[in-house]
């Protein structure tokens, strides 16, 4: 009698451990699916193709930034400056655009400014050993200030035909920002999961001293991480600037760091680094997008969106603690 009972108990613990494994590995996907189903029940318009595309379109900018944030947070850091840097990059690229009349030069300028600010962040963190939170907080204030100063606190608009086509065109049924987001996601996925660089990022986030004693150039990798993340902010800035054909030095990029960090955390990346996945971040971005979309569809005041984002971050972290 005792024997089969023991076997059954053994099987059920096996089941439990398997279930808990699925939960820890895929909790963000499960949460996404639940949210998706609930949304489609609550609002008939949710499932319309144009609405789904609209969601993707709206998350593409934060999504691109969140990809870079994932790299930084995996390495054990954080970047609070992304919103301000987005405005700075936008201002400089529009100035370059109008001065040169060349879209190409505008893009190169954008990438250079993003890479430079990212490199500065990385330099402060890796070489000057300043805590990432402090270093990027300083950059957040400084970049916004330079953006305001350069444009006299106002907005500047592009004066070159064709610049706004970058974001306002489609490839088939897919608008180009969505396409760019997808492309960046694939690149970052390959970089983090299939290359030496990516492996080093995980190693540094998990055990920095161990990584150093394994012969990894920890400083260089960290600076590269922040520089690459800065360039992803450039890409996001190009999408944003081109979509409206203008950039506001005061309001563009406001609180983008909050959404980007939220997406990464909801996606299951550990705050202290070393653990997390690009796919998790993608679903984190989508969860935030669907929540905002549903609140629009259900006529919830836009002022409450921040409240919901905050709530979701906290709930996500509480659930992750349980592992």
């Amino acid at each position: 009698m005792a024997e089969p009972e023991f076997e059954r108990a053994k099987r059920s613990t096996k089941w439990n451990s398997r279930l808990s494994w699925i939960w820890t590995e895929y909790s963000v996907i499960i949460a996404f699916l639940i949210l998706f189903v609930v949304s489609s029940i609550l609002s008939p318009r949710f499932l319309e193709f144009s609405n789904l595309m609209n969601i993707l379109m709206q998350v593409s900018i934060i999504g691109v930034i969140a990809l870079g944030m994932t790299m930084i947070m995996l390495s054990g850091g954080i970047d609070l400056s992304v919103g301000s840097v987005l405005a700075l990059v936008g201002v400089f690229s529009v100035i370059a655009l109008n001065a040169s009349g060349s879209i190409f030069i505008a893009i190169i300028t954008a990438l250079a400014v993003g890479a430079f600010t990212g490199f500065l962040n990385g330099f402060m963190v890796a070489k000057l050993k300043i805590a990432a939170f402090i270093a990027t907080l300083g950059m957040m204030a400084a970049a916004r200030s330079i953006a305001l100063y350069t444009s006299d606190g106002g907005s500047i608009s592009g004066e070159v035909e064709g610049f706004s086509a970058i974001s306002n065109s489609s490839i088939g049924a897919v608008q180009s920002p969505i396409f760019i987001f997808g492309l960046m996601a694939v690149l970052v996925f390959i970089l983090l999961h299939q290359t030496r660089f990516g492996r080093y990022v995980y190693a540094i986030g998990s055990n920095e001293k161990g990584a150093l004693l394994s012969g990894i150039r920890v400083d260089r990798i960290k600076m590269a991480v922040y520089t690459l993340a800065g360039m992803l902010v450039s890409v996001a800035a190009i999408i944003e600037t081109s979509r409206l054909n203008s950039i506001s030095s005061s309001s563009s990029g406001q609180l983008y760091e909050l959404d980007a960090i939220a997406a990464v955390i909801i996606g299951g990346t550990r705050m202290t680094g070393g653990r997390g996945k690009v796919v998790g971040t993608l679903f984190g971005v989508l969860i935030l997008g669907i929540l905002n979309n549903m609140m629009n569809l259900m006529n919830v005041s836009p002022y409450l969106q921040g409240f919901v984002t905050g709530l979701v971050i906290i709930i996500a972290v509480v659930f992750q603690k349980r592992e």
Partner: protein
């Protein structure tokens, strides 16, 4: 008269895996009782049951003739049992008296703490222990051995009648160990009983009155401690006899792989000279704080400030970063494996390949299959026991983790491999295996350096032993002619120059 403490017929399973099977143990008043066994034998589980952390499936705990139930760590404490864990439970940023009274602060009727009274009581207890520390000292300024004393003081403050010590000497230098032992003997006189968990048989022989050996959750032996029992106890622990023979055979060496001249780093080591040839195993030993770890961290590029000359295969090298050391053909298996060597979020395979990812790349992308195949090779070669190589490395036992770290440097193809305290936290059976692998490396022509404070251990494997004292090499022995006593007299500075 019945025993002070008896744990009777304790059984415990986790997830239907039995960890303790019908275990009984008796401890008398004022007795130091050694609890022995390899890692995984069930020592911690047994003590956690006594400490109220786990509940037994079967069996009873009898204290002073009364059956008691330890439902929480607090109940256990209220019965006068204190558990001093291997990782010390003191808070560095608080003062000595604040640590001592943490959670039990003396308060006046307004709820404010009575600092002076707590300080006085702290002074009394510390004086009783023969420890001279000011109660208002910050704990971060204290040596590890004093932090241990604090734990013991805490136990006395709670009027503990039984203190459990889990491997208290792993982080202690020789003279600190003696201080601890003197204190334990004092406690014994006042009727306090101690359960002492350790791997170090010599220490146990010195300080313990009785012992119990666990193996695979069973009691395999329990007796009074006698001098002639040591070999037998070892046999009981591993289930087979471990020989004391030298593991290394002398053979001819190859060319000089590493030559160090006049290496000096202010405040850490000075005027260090030595050579290591291919096929040779060179040991460095001494007490804690002798500068050997700093010396080799400098050689490996982890510390930057030093003067002197380093030659690798007769070439002058200048090493400022571990990456350069790696390129020059050096590998380091560092001490404190958890902090320095393993990357706990990476899986076993990824830990193996971390320093040589270029070997597994094709067009810039890592080929997981190539990594896995290489790991299978080392798994067999080094006898690594891994249920699933895709689990994170922290799930493995210490010995197996260390083998993965060794595999990492083999894959880099390092010519010179430095092992710092290679058997730290590894049980007796696996220790010998690690040393056998190290000897095999030398036999294949690697130049090997071993750093350890346990001279008796590395004596068996080294061709040459350098003894360090306060940053200087004070003696050099051929491995077969060194004796523990003589090494110790140089390591403690009582003899100099040879």
């Amino acid at each position: 008269m019945s025993s002070f403490l008896s744990m009777k017929n304790i059984s415990k399973s986790f997830n239907h895996v039995p960890v303790l099977k019908n275990v009984s143990i008796n401890v008398e008043h004022g007795e130091i009782h050694a609890l022995l066994g390899e890692n995984g034998a069930g020592k911690s589980t047994l003590m956690n049951i006594l400490g109220g952390v786990h509940q037994p499936d079967e069996g009873a705990i009898v204290l002073n003739g009364q059956t008691v139930e330890m439902t929480t760590p607090r109940t256990s404490q209220s019965y006068g049992i204190s558990f001093i864990h291997q990782e010390l439970n003191v808070i560095s940023d608080l003062r000595v008296y604040e640590n001592l009274f943490l959670g039990n602060e003396l308060k006046n009727r307004f709820g404010f703490v009575k600092v002076e009274e707590m300080c006085d009581k702290t002074s009394d207890i510390l004086a009783e222990l023969g420890v001279d520390i000011h109660p208002k000292t910050y704990v971060r300024h204290l040596d590890t051995s004093y932090k241990q004393m604090l734990e013991i003081a805490k136990a006395l403050l709670h009027n503990s009648r039984l203190i459990i010590m889990d491997e208290p000497t792993t982080a202690l230098a020789e003279h600190e160990v003696h201080r601890l032992f003197a204190l334990m003997k004092n406690l014994k006189q006042t009727g306090v009983s101690i359960i002492y968990i350790s791997h170090k048989l010599k220490e146990i022989q010195e300080v313990c009155d009785t012992y119990t050996v666990l193996r695979d959750g069973h009691v395999v032996g329990s007796n009074r401690m006698k001098d002639e029992n040591l070999d037998e106890i070892t046999k009981l622990m591993v289930g087979k006899s471990v020989s004391e023979d030298r593991l290394t055979e002398s053979h001819s060496f190859g060319p000089v792989a590493l030559e160090v001249k006049h290496l000096t780093s202010e405040g850490f080591f000075k005027d260090i000279n030595f050579t290591v040839r291919k096929g040779e195993i060179v040991g460095f030993t001494g007490l804690a704080g002798d500068g050997r770890t700093e010396l080799f961290e400098s050689l490996f590029g982890f510390r930057k400030k030093y003067n002197g000359q380093i030659k690798i295969f007769a070439q002058d090298v200048n090493i400022n970063h571990p990456k350069q050391a790696l390129k020059a053909g050096m590998g380091l298996v560092p001490k404190d494996r958890k902090e320095n060597a393993i990357i706990k979020d990476l899986n076993v395979i990824q830990n193996m390949s971390l320093s040589s990812l270029a070997h597994f790349e094709k067009a810039g992308l890592i080929k997981g299959r190539a990594e896995r195949e290489k790991f299978n090779f080392y798994e067999q070669k080094l006898n690594i026991k891994v249920p699933n190589p895709k689990t994170t490395i922290d799930k493995l036992s210490g010995g197996n983790q260390q083998k993965v770290v060794i595999a990492k440097w083999l894959e880099v193809n390092a010519d010179i491999i430095i092992f710092d305290n290679p058997t730290q936290g590894i049980d007796v059976g696996a220790r010998r295996e690690i040393y056998q692998h190290i000897v095999a490396l030398a036999d294949k022509g690697k130049a090997v350096i071993i750093l350890s404070s346990e001279a008796s251990e590395i004596r068996k494997v080294c061709h040459t032993i350098h003894v360090m004292y306060q940053g200087e090499v004070t003696a050099q022995f051929a491995g077969e002619e060194a004796t523990d006593d003589e090494i110790m007299s140089y390591a403690t500075g009582s003899k100099r120059g040879r």
